[in-house]
């Protein structure tokens, strides 16, 4: 499965090491026109797994991948550098992709350096995302730590688009400092709108920070929950997810009602290479979102 070439249409710096890039799909080319410019990439219009079939598409029509669901990921490819698995930080768009990338290595550094007009190869979407339907009619607690808020943002968008489908919804966001709170202005909007409860907490406060200080688990006892009708979605450092899950299980939430997004070394993204294998699971295919009931025994194996 080869990448489809998308064009960067916007690159927004979220913080020093984190960028949100918006990618537009290629346009259907007419007879005699050429498609992709960079070598090794799929030519526009070639049907492949995960790519929308060209069918009777008119020349000029968007020819991208199938829509990505909240919690799924794409393999983003920077020519000459490599590929990295990146979750969607927005979904439900008409063809466009939005990914928030933290610069933590060679590929992500290259992705963070992309500017409008640059080309990014995309394979996907891959994996199982958040099971939002399970939460309909239930209360929902969404917990994001650091860059872990990015894959949860489409969940919040989905909730806000059909707010009456859900009971009480709380979003708890943790970051190292106020300056490192992802999507800060959007968080402020959500907090002001009060459609959902928004709690932010930082563990390295600056002098002008008057909000909560500590880690996300500090905020959990402050939430009134009805454990029998609560669904939880968590993404962040693995230790954080473990403590969040244990805290809520202690309060009576069922392990199968807690969903966590695990990060491993995804390479082929189609369950073939085994790099992301955890026991009998390939996280690229069976995850990255798993219930805590499934994830806990996997994470108890320290060598994994």
């Amino acid at each position: 499965m080869r990448p489809v070439l998308y064009t960067v249409t916007s690159a927004k710096r979220e913080m020093a090491s984190t960028m949100t890039i918006t990618l537009e799909p290629p346009r259907q080319v007419g007879i005699g026109q050429t498609g992709a410019a960079e070598p090794g990439a799929a030519q526009v219009g070639i049907a492949q797994t995960g790519v929308a079939q060209p069918g009777a598409a008119e020349p000029g029509a968007a020819q991208g991948l199938v829509p990505i669901a909240p919690g799924q990921f794409n393999m983003l490819w920077s020519w000459g550098v490599g590929e990295a698995p990146i979750s969607a930080s927005q979904s439900g768009l008409d063809g466009a992709l939005v990914h928030t990338v933290r610069d933590v290595g060679g590929v992500t550094k290259a992705l963070c350096a992309k500017q409008p007009g640059d080309v990014v190869g995309v394979r996907g979407p891959f994996g199982r995302g958040w099971d939002i339907d399970t939460a309909r009619g239930q209360d929902l607690i969404v917990v994001g730590g650091g860059i872990g808020l990015a894959p949860l943002r489409p969940v919040v968008h989905t909730i806000l688009a059909s707010r009456s489908d859900f009971g009480r919804v709380a979003l708890v966001v943790g970051a190292r400092s106020a300056a490192e709170l992802l999507f800060r202005s959007e968080l402020d909007c959500w907090w002001r709108d009060r459609a959902i409860t928004v709690r932010t907490i930082v563990d390295r406060p600056s002098r002008d920070w008057h909000g909560s200080i500590g880690i996300v688990t500090n905020e959990l006892p402050r939430l009134e929950i009805d454990p029998g009708r609560t669904v939880v979605m968590v993404c962040g450092p693995e230790v954080m997810m473990r403590f969040v899950a244990l805290n809520l299980i202690e309060r009576g939430v069922a392990p199968e009602a807690i969903q966590v997004s695990l990060e491993r070394n995804m390479q082929c993204a189609v369950g073939q290479c085994g790099h992301c294998q955890l026991a009998g699971y390939f996280l690229c295919r069976d995850g990255p979102v798993l219930t805590w009931e499934v994830a806990r025994p996997l994470l108890e194996v320290r060598e994994l």
Binding site: V104, G145, G146, G174, A175, R176, E180, D203, P205, R207, W209, H210, G211, S212, I213, G214, I215, T217, N218, P221, R222, G236, P237, V239, M240, F243
Partner: protein, 156 residues
């Protein structure tokens, strides 16, 4: 509408809500409501700690005074939180400063009244102390997690 009694106020606070009625009644006899306006000092490091506070509304910043930096906040306590355990152990002095970030309504519980009762009734004493220990455990866990600097740059 009759005014809410102190045992009822305690029953509405998550720290005390699962306590036996008799323990809540006795604690209520050692309690009174207090209000701290925004910016008011709740306690000062090194001064006698003869009470603790169950926060009903508002937020309290707990910190330490650092020369040339002023009060450095370490933790923010909210509605439903307990502030203070220095009253439990000698030398009964506050270890940190605390100020009200906004108007704070709290229940103040007085150690001079509570400790003799706990000595008389070890079962009640055990119940209250295990609850205080649970709060201590939560705060120590939180401090340890913060030492991990989970959101910092990876050393890999």
């Amino acid at each position: 509408m009759r005014p809410i009694t102190m045992p009822e106020e305690l029953a509405h606070h998550r720290f005390f809500e699962k306590f036996p009625d008799e323990l809540r009644r006795r604690l209520a006899e050692c309690s009174n409501n207090v209000i701290f306006e925004k910016g008011v000092t709740v306690c000062t490091e090194g001064t006698p700690a003869r009470s603790f506070f169950a926060i009903r509304t508002g937020r309290v910043s707990v910190g330490v005074h650092v020369p040339s930096r002023g009060l450095v906040s370490l933790e923010t306590l909210h509605r439903g939180d307990i502030m203070g355990w220095s009253w439990v152990l000698p030398p009964y002095r506050w270890h940190f400063d605390a100020i009200a970030l906004e108007q704070v309504r709290a229940i103040e519980l007085h150690a001079d009244c509570i400790l003799p009762y706990l000595e008389e009734d070890p079962a009640a004493g055990f119940r209250l102390m295990t609850s205080v220990a649970t709060i201590m455990e939560e705060r120590i866990d939180s401090a340890r997690m913060r030492l991990l600097d989970l959101f910092g740059e990876s050393d890999d």
